[in-house]
Amino acid sequence: MTLTQFLFWTIAALTGLSAIMVVLTQNIVRAAAWLLFTLAGTAGIYFLLGSDFIGATQLIVYVGGTLVLVVFGVMLTAQGPFVNMKAGAGDWAVSLIVGVALYAVLAVSTLLTAWTGEYPEPVDERSSANVIVLGQALTGIREVQPRTVLAAQRGYTRVSYILPFEIVSVHLVVVLVGAAYLARARRRTSRMPEGVGG
């Protein structure tokens, strides 16, 4: 067993364990904290498999994002009826069915893929990461491997992700503005005159 294999199985086991804890725990803050460890473990696996940039993005976006979840969990459920979330038998049945179905899809697609075991060559041989490839792929400068069928039919092989990326970011801005509008504390209509106090 090499060092890489040992690290992979350790991180994978810890990630799986904390993923199970997310489901089993009944306290919302604890669940969010276990989710944090799951996402961080996934980032660790990305790093181990040589996708540095994806790993760091996972840490910043997902692990950093869970923080907000923890904070909301703390603020909304510190006391009150939502501290413990007991799942009923019906919930368990539905989630088991969905979970097993999803697992089946993933397992079948993993087993049916013919893995070649070839890595794409790094662009710069002195660097291990693939930030340049990612950036070029995003803007459509470089040919991207998974060509869409439509593009291949037209003999046009450059796939750009810049438009979907922009649409997603504009969407996110709209959502954020909407959330800020909804969360804004409602002002009283009759405002107190300033400096009433002595």
Partner: protein
Amino acid sequence: MTPFHFWTTAITIAVVLFVVLHVVAYMILVERKVSAWMQDRLGPNRVGPWGLLQPIVDGAKMFLKEDIIPSHVDKVFYILAPGVAAFTALVALAVVPFGPTDPSQPERYQFVIAPNIDIGILWTFSTGSMAVYGVILGGWSSNNKYSLLGSLRSSAQVISYEIPLGLSVLGVILYAGSLNLERIIDWQVQHGWNALYHPLAFLMFVTAAFAECNRLPFDLPECEQELVGGYHTEYSSIKFGLFFLGEYTHMITTSLLFAVLFCGGWHLPFGLTDGNEWYHTALKLVSILGKTAFFLFFYVWVRWTLPRFRFDQLMGIAWKLLIPLATVNLVVVMVLREYEAPLWALTAASVALFVGATAFAARQTTPPVIRRTGNIHGLPTRV
């Protein structure tokens, strides 16, 4: 790709850990000595000459004190939280150079734990932002209202200040053309220190880093007179020590980053470090560590100079001042880079922006003093 030698890396990690742990211990002594000096006191002077053995005694005390776990805490996360705080702070050091590096000669020994990592600065930011989880988990699992308030303050602070922290570095990255810290140093060796070209970005980066480290004037998470001890109220002995370790390691990392990103890393002017002899290597090592030591001293210096901000001022500085200014600064840098303006134009733009922003802020805001009506937040005092 830089060849990976297991033993070289293992020894580097061991040496770095050894040095960092001792610097943390002695930083506490420096902090107490400097504060005593600034307040015309003597400071610790009983253990060893000039109190030099004080950190060792303190460390032993941390380990030997009774480790109390209050009965009302959430056990798992209460125990996990100090570990998370220390781990995330230490792991951020992995890509930060602490001595001479040369990306053009990968076969030479590079003074960094993981050399040639392309995502360099991104890694430091991502793990540095995770450090707040130690605070959050610690504060929540303590099951204590003061701790919880401290940790919620901390999360708001860190989320807000991460944005100007990242935005201010982007200009530097645009010019260096890489996130790799060794290449950023290399760019500065060829063109001159970034602090000369991006003074405004440097100022904003330092400010945001102070907030990220929860240092005064931004130490609201543990503000004593309001929150008892903040998030670590319920912690004792070595668990408290681990929180301390995390915080001071964060300071060391950011001090190294100030040196690496803006002050040329190991570079010294007048050709002092141009060469590969052993004395050049020694000089480079002294140079980068000296700069880091200066910034560590700067942390203590500021601590005893500036009073703590109020919470609304803290949020105002991040959202109304630093983020707009950092965005405008980034746009200006992008325009100058696109039209390949000479480097002095960057300095001029930076200074102009600083003057403009100061004038604008002076016209916009009322001075941050409590008005005579006893009115702090624009709210009526008596209803």
